[in-house]
C-alpha cells in the first residue's frame, strides 16, 4: 500500500514539474522572442527563424526608434501621467481610506457609502464622455489624471489595512495635540508603506498601460498621445505602419528598419519599466490583493 502511494506520488511529481515548466515556457517565450528580435539586425530578422536569441546582435533598432519624435514624446507623456497619476492617486485614495476609517467621523457612513456604490455601477461610456467634454478636459493632460483619480477598490484595500493598525497610536497622538492631517501624514502613511506600494503598483500599471483614454479624449492632440496609444495605432494599421508620418518623421527620412523590428523594439520599451519593477513588489501585492478580497 505504502509503496504504491509513493510510486503514484512520483509519477504525479514528474507530471507536475513538466506541467509547470511548460507553463513557464509558454508564458516566457513570447517575451523572449520579442526581446531577441529587438536586438537582431532588422534585415536579418525578415528571414525569420529567430526564437530566443538574436542571430545578428545589434543596438541599431533602439538607436533608430529613439529618434522617432512621436514615440519619444509618447514615452515622455506616458511617464509623466504615470508619475503624476500614481502620486496623486495614492495620496487621494489613502486620504479617503483614512477618513472612512475614523469611527468618530460624523460623515463616515455617507462618505464610505458614496465610494462603495461606485464599485457596483458606473454611468457608462457615453455619459462619462459627455462629462469630460463639458468640463473642458478634452485634449487636456488632466483627462489622464482626474476622471480615474480614485479607485473604489484601492480605497477599501487601504482601509482594510488601516483597520489593522493599533488604535492607541492615533489616540496618543491626539492627546499630544496632533490634528487628523498631521496624524495622517506623520503616522498613518509611514505605517502603510507595504499597502501603499501595492496600490501604487496597481495605479502605475493602469496609467502606463492605458490607451483608450487617449483614443477617446485626446487623439486629436498629437502632443498628448501616449506610448501605448501610438503602439496601438501602429498595430492596427499594419499596412501603413511603414509610413514615415506615423513616427513623426518626414517622408525624406523614412524609417531605416522594418515595421516588425520597430514594433518589437517599442514593445520592449513599453514593457520593460513594469517588468523590471513588479517582482520586487510581489510580496506586497499578493498581500494587498488578499486583504482586498477578504474585506472588500
Amino acid at each position: 500500500m505504502v509503496t504504491n502511494r509513493t510510486w503514484g506520488d512520483r509519477v504525479f511529481n514528474v507530471f507536475l514539474y513538466v506541467f509547470m515548466i511548460f507553463m513557464a515556457a509558454i508564458t516566457l517565450y513570447p517575451f523572449l522572442n520579442v526581446l531577441a528580435i529587438s536586438f537582431n539586425d532588422s534585415v536579418d530578422s525578415v528571414r525569420g527563424g529567430i526564437h530566443l536569441w538574436p542571430r545578428q546582435f545589434t543596438l541599431n533598432n533602439y538607436r533608430e526608434v529613439f529618434t522617432y519624435p512621436t514615440l519619444v514624446r509618447g514615452f515622455y507623456i506616458s511617464s509623466l501621467r504615470t508619475i503624476i497619476g500614481t502620486a496623486l492617486g495614492v495620496l487621494s485614495s489613502a486620504m479617503v481610506a483614512y477618513v472612512i476609517s475614523c469611527e468618530e467621523f460624523i460623515a463616515r457612513k455617507f462618505v464610505s457609502g458614496l465610494f462603495i456604490l461606485t464599485l457596483y455601477f458606473s454611468g457608462g461610456l457615453i455619459p462619462e464622455f459627455m462629462l469630460v467634454r463639458k468640463l473642458g478636459l478634452m485634449n487636456n493632460f488632466w483627462v489622464y489624471i482626474l476622471p480615474g483619480l480614485i479607485g473604489g477598490w484601492n480605497v477599501f484595500v487601504l482601509r482594510a489595512y488601516i483597520d489593522t493598525l493599533p488604535v492607541n497610536l492615533k489616540e496618543s497622538a491626539k492627546l499630544d495635540g496632533a490634528n487628523d492631517l498631521t496624524i495622517f501624514f506623520r503616522i498613518i502613511l509611514p505605517l502603510c508603506k507595504p499597502v501603499l506600494a501595492t496600490v501604487a503598483l496597481f495605479i502605475a500599471v493602469g496609467q502606463w498601460n492605458s490607451w483608450f483614454d487617449t483614443f477617446l479624449y485626446a487623439s486629436s492632440n498629437p502632443d498628448l498621445t501616449t506610448l501605448q496609444y501610438e503602439m496601438m495605432r501602429i498595430m492596427q494599421n499594419t499596412a501603413m505602419s511603414s509610413t514615415a508620418s506615423m513616427y513623426g518623421l518626414t517622408a525624406a527620412n523614412a524609417p531605416r528598419i522594418s515595421p516588425e523590428s520597430i514594433r518589437m523594439t517599442i514593445t520592449v520599451v513599453a514593457t520593460l519599466p513594469i517588468v523590471a519593477v513588479y517582482p520586487f513588489l510581489q510580496k506586497y501585492f499578493v498581500k494587498g490583493l488578499t486583504l482586498g478580497a477578504i474585506k472588500g
Binding site: 506520488d9 507536475l16 509547470m20 508564458t27 460623515a107 462629462l131 492596427q236
Partner: protein
C-alpha cells in the same frame, strides 16, 4: 456644532474627494436621462425632446444588437468557464510544488503577462499566431496541419482565441487569491486526512477544495456580476474586419454607434440596459449561492 468644529480636519480632508466622487461618478448617472431624450448637445436640459422608451425599442429591433449580445455572452461565458476554473486548478497544482524556489519562480513568471497591456499582448500574439509565427511552425513540424492556419482570419476561431489569450494573460494573477486561501487551510486537517490514508488527490478534493469554498463562492459571484462587463479592449485589439461578426461586442457597439456617429441617446440606452443586466446577474448569483448554503456573500 462643537463636534463639527472638532472634526474640521476630517471634513477638510474628505470634502475634495466627496466633490470628486459626486462629479465623476454620480453626475454621469444623471446623464442616463439622455436615454429617454433625443439628446442634442447644444440644448439645455429643459429644451431636450423627451422620447420615452423609443431608443430601447430601436435597440431591440436592431438585428446587430442581437449579434453583439450573442458575441458578448459567448465570450463572457467562455471566460467564466476557463478564466475562473483554470486559475483554481493552477493554484491547487502550485500548492503541490514542494520546491520553494521553483514554486516562487513559476509564480513570478505567471504574474508577468498581467502587467503587460492588451495592446502589447495583441501585438505579440498576432506575430506568434501569424503565418510564419511560432505556433504555425510547431503545428506544421508536428504534422498536425500542412499549411499555416490563419487564426485571425476565421470568425469561428475568434471566441476561442480571445478566451485562450485571456487565460494566458491572467491565469497566474487570478490564482493569487485562491493560493492565499489554500495557504490558510488548517495544516492539521491534511495530517488527519493523511492518517486516514487519503492520497494527494483525495486530500485536494476533500480538504483543500472545501477549505477554500468560501473564496471560490465569492469570486464566482463577482465574476457572474461582471459577465456582461467584458469590455471591448481585447475584441477591439485582436479583432479585424474579417472576423467582425464574431468580435463585435456590446461596448464596441456603444463606441461605434454612440460616440463615433454621435447617437449619444442611443448609446446611453445601451449602457443602461447593460447595467441593469449586470445588477440582475449579481443579485441572482448571490441568491443562488446562498441557496447552496455557502458562506460567500458579496452584497
Amino acid at each position: 456644532m462643537r463636534k463639527l468644529y472638532n472634526q474640521r480636519y476630517l471634513i477638510l480632508m474628505s470634502l475634495p474627494f466627496v466633490i470628486w466622487v459626486i462629479l465623476f461618478k454620480y453626475v454621469p448617472i444623471w446623464g442616463w436621462t439622455m436615454a429617454f431624450q433625443e439628446y442634442k448637445p447644444h440644448r439645455t436640459f429643459f429644451e431636450q425632446h423627451w422620447v420615452g422608451l423609443a431608443h430601447f425599442r430601436t435597440l431591440f429591433q436592431d438585428p446587430m444588437f442581437y449579434e453583439v449580445m450573442r458575441n458578448t455572452l459567448a465570450m463572457s461565458f467562455l471566460s467564466l468557464l476557463c478564466g475562473y476554473t483554470l486559475p483554481i486548478i493552477f493554484a491547487l497544482l502550485l500548492n503541490e510544488l514542494r520546491d520553494g524556489l521553483f514554486k516562487r519562480f513559476v509564480q513570478t513568471v505567471s504574474y508577468l503577462p498581467h502587467f503587460v497591456s492588451w495592446v502589447i499582448v495583441a501585438g505579440m500574439f498576432s506575430r506568434l499566431l501569424g503565418v510564419g509565427g511560432a505556433v504555425n511552425e510547431v503545428l506544421m513540424s508536428l504534422g498536425i496541419v500542412d499549411k499555416p492556419v490563419l487564426f485571425f482570419a476565421k470568425g469561428e476561431y475568434f471566441w476561442a482565441l480571445v478566451t485562450s489569450i485571456d487565460v494566458w494573460k491572467e491565469i497566474g494573477w487570478n490564482s493569487i487569491i485562491f493560493l492565499a486561501a489554500i495557504m490558510a487551510v488548517d495544516e492539521d486537517l491534511y495530517d488527519a486526512a493523511a492518517v486516514d490514508g487519503a492520497g494527494r488527490f483525495r486530500r485536494m478534493w476533500h480538504v483543500t477544495l472545501p477549505g477554500i469554498s468560501t473564496v471560490i463562492a465569492i469570486m464566482l459571484i463577482m465574476s457572474i456580476g461582471n459577465l456582461i462587463n467584458i469590455g471591448f479592449e481585447k475584441q477591439f485589439l485582436l479583432g479585424n474586419n474579417l472576423v467582425k461578426e464574431y468580435s463585435e461586442v456590446i461596448d464596441l457597439y456603444v463606441l461605434n454607434y454612440g460616440i463615433k456617429i454621435g447617437r449619444y441617446s442611443y448609446g446611453t440606452a445601451i449602457g443602461i440596459f447593460k447595467s441593469v443586466i449586470s445588477i440582475i446577474l449579481l443579485f441572482t448569483a448571490n441568491r443562488v449561492i446562498q441557496r447552496f448554503n455557502v458562506e460567500g456573500r458579496v452584497l
